[in-house]
């Protein structure tokens, strides 16, 4: 029975969201606010149960001596909440600085080692090389150079530079078109999922109970 109640609540909320297709209305706003609130509550719960308890609380209470170093992230985390006390709000910046520094460091290596170098490397191709894809290589090289020229603003886009820049715009438009096509497919897929729920899952589960 609890499953039945669950699917009917889900169906009601789905219809509340779909009602926006007609016009903005209180049912849509109720479902939207409920989704935001439930998502936040779920997130807090899941972080507490899956990260804070097994990775911080249990080790500290289980073997404090071996895990005393965990006090550092604990204090840094608690320190973030000093921003609610105006007199010592500045202390929160220390924790934020550590957090930002860590992610800047990790991202710098990621971007250079994991993106710039391999992506540039995979663009260094023989223009007409390869047995199966000579045209692909040429298109890729011309496309990358044309788009880079389009985003190069230190020279006025006139004459030959202007022509290459316009070619870059064409490549960008093709890229955006492909991305938009994929986006349409993604959104339609989500609609398919909801319609499947309303017309098949809901009917099947209701039928199983009665």
């Amino acid at each position: 029975m609890s499953q039945l109640i669950g699917v009917w609540v889900a169906a009601f909320l789905t219809l509340c969201i779909f009602s926006f297709l007609s016009r903005d209305n209180p049912f849509f706003r109720f479902a939207e606010s409920l989704f935001a609130g439930v998502s936040l509550g779920y997130y807090i719960g899941i972080v507490a149960v899956n990260t804070l308890v097994p990775n911080l609380i249990n080790p500290l209470f289980g073997d404090f001596g071996a895990n005393a170093h965990l006090l550092i992230p604990l204090l840094l985390g608690l320190n973030l909440y000093t921003r609610f006390i105006p007199r010592i709000a500045w202390l929160a910046r220390i924790s934020l600085a550590v957090y930002i520094a860590y992610y800047i460091g990790i991202n710098m290596v990621q971007k250079i080692q994991g993106e710039i170098v391999p992506q540039v490397g995979s663009t260094i191709l023989h223009p007409i090389g390869g047995v199966m894809t000579p045209v692909d290589n040429l298109i890729l090289i011309v496309g990358v150079l044309a788009v880079l020229i389009y985003f190069y603003f230190s020279i006025e886009h006139r004459g030959a530079v202007g022509a290459v820049s316009r070619l870059g715009v064409w490549f960008l438009m093709l890229g955006f078109g492909a991305a938009f096509g994929y986006t349409v497919m993604g959104r339609v897929s989500l609609l398919i999922g909801r319609m499947n729920f309303l017309f098949i899952d809901l009917v099947r589960i209701t039928g199983q109970v009665f």
């Binding site: 899956n50 391999p118 991305a179 986006t183 993604g186 609609l191 319609m195 098949i200």
Partner: protein, 294 residues
Amino acid sequence: MKLERLVNIDRRIVYLCIAVGTTLPLLLPIGLPVSSTPPVRSLFEKVESLGPEDVVLLSFDYGPTTAPENTPMAEAILRHCFTRGIKVVVIALFPIGGVTMAGEVLANITPEYPQLQEGVDYAFLGYKDGAQAAMKQMGVAFVNVFPVDNGRRPLGEIPLMQRVVNYDDVDLIVTLSTNVIAEWWANLVNAQFGTPVAVGATAVSAPKYYAFLDSGQMIGLLGGLKGASEYERLVIDRYPHFARLYDRPGVYTAIKGMDAQTVDHAIIMAFILFGNTVHFLIRRRDRRAGLRDA
């Protein structure tokens, strides 16, 4: 004036056409053919090359909002791995529902393989916050990130995790992703630890991953519902006993979803063509009217 009415049709008529185009193929499947593309075949062949001694790390980096795209991928890949006896370590790094989706998919699939033992043939480590930091630390040791599994069992007590210490013991990472997390698996884990990475991405995020595919940083890519349907088709073609499973009425699969997807795309294209045709007719009529007035 009649032409103006045609370009200003009520948008709810478009919604109604899409709703009908989505629902009818779900209720009455058409069975349109599904052909596979190289990025999907590449992942399929990689899984085919693995066996009972190998380990796949399956990361659920999506939530319920993209389940219609990602869940069919997860189910097909998991079935493929379990059928080949490959050991699977399941984790979740997406906060809003990743661990729930992983639990649901495992609960759906594992009963089909009664011989499987949790902890021996597969392990479900649960969710961890801070994806990048977690990914980096798993390169040192899984136990540093997941001291206990999803059922609160210490990792040291799980037979599979006794031999899977870090990425060195993983033969393939498959991320089912809705956002930037898939990118991190490639530009962090693949770049720094060299473990092969494949991605089951939502359609919205799939285009940017083709660059990673071309550079060899990803060995396979399933793009949205289409990618999921291709993988399902490959699994069914290689292991025909799955056909019965996927053909069951009332069971949502990517192949069935692609019927609705194709009909919807045809409707959208028809409206685009219709709108453009009417637009050009109005332009031609106004131009002629202008010439006549002049």
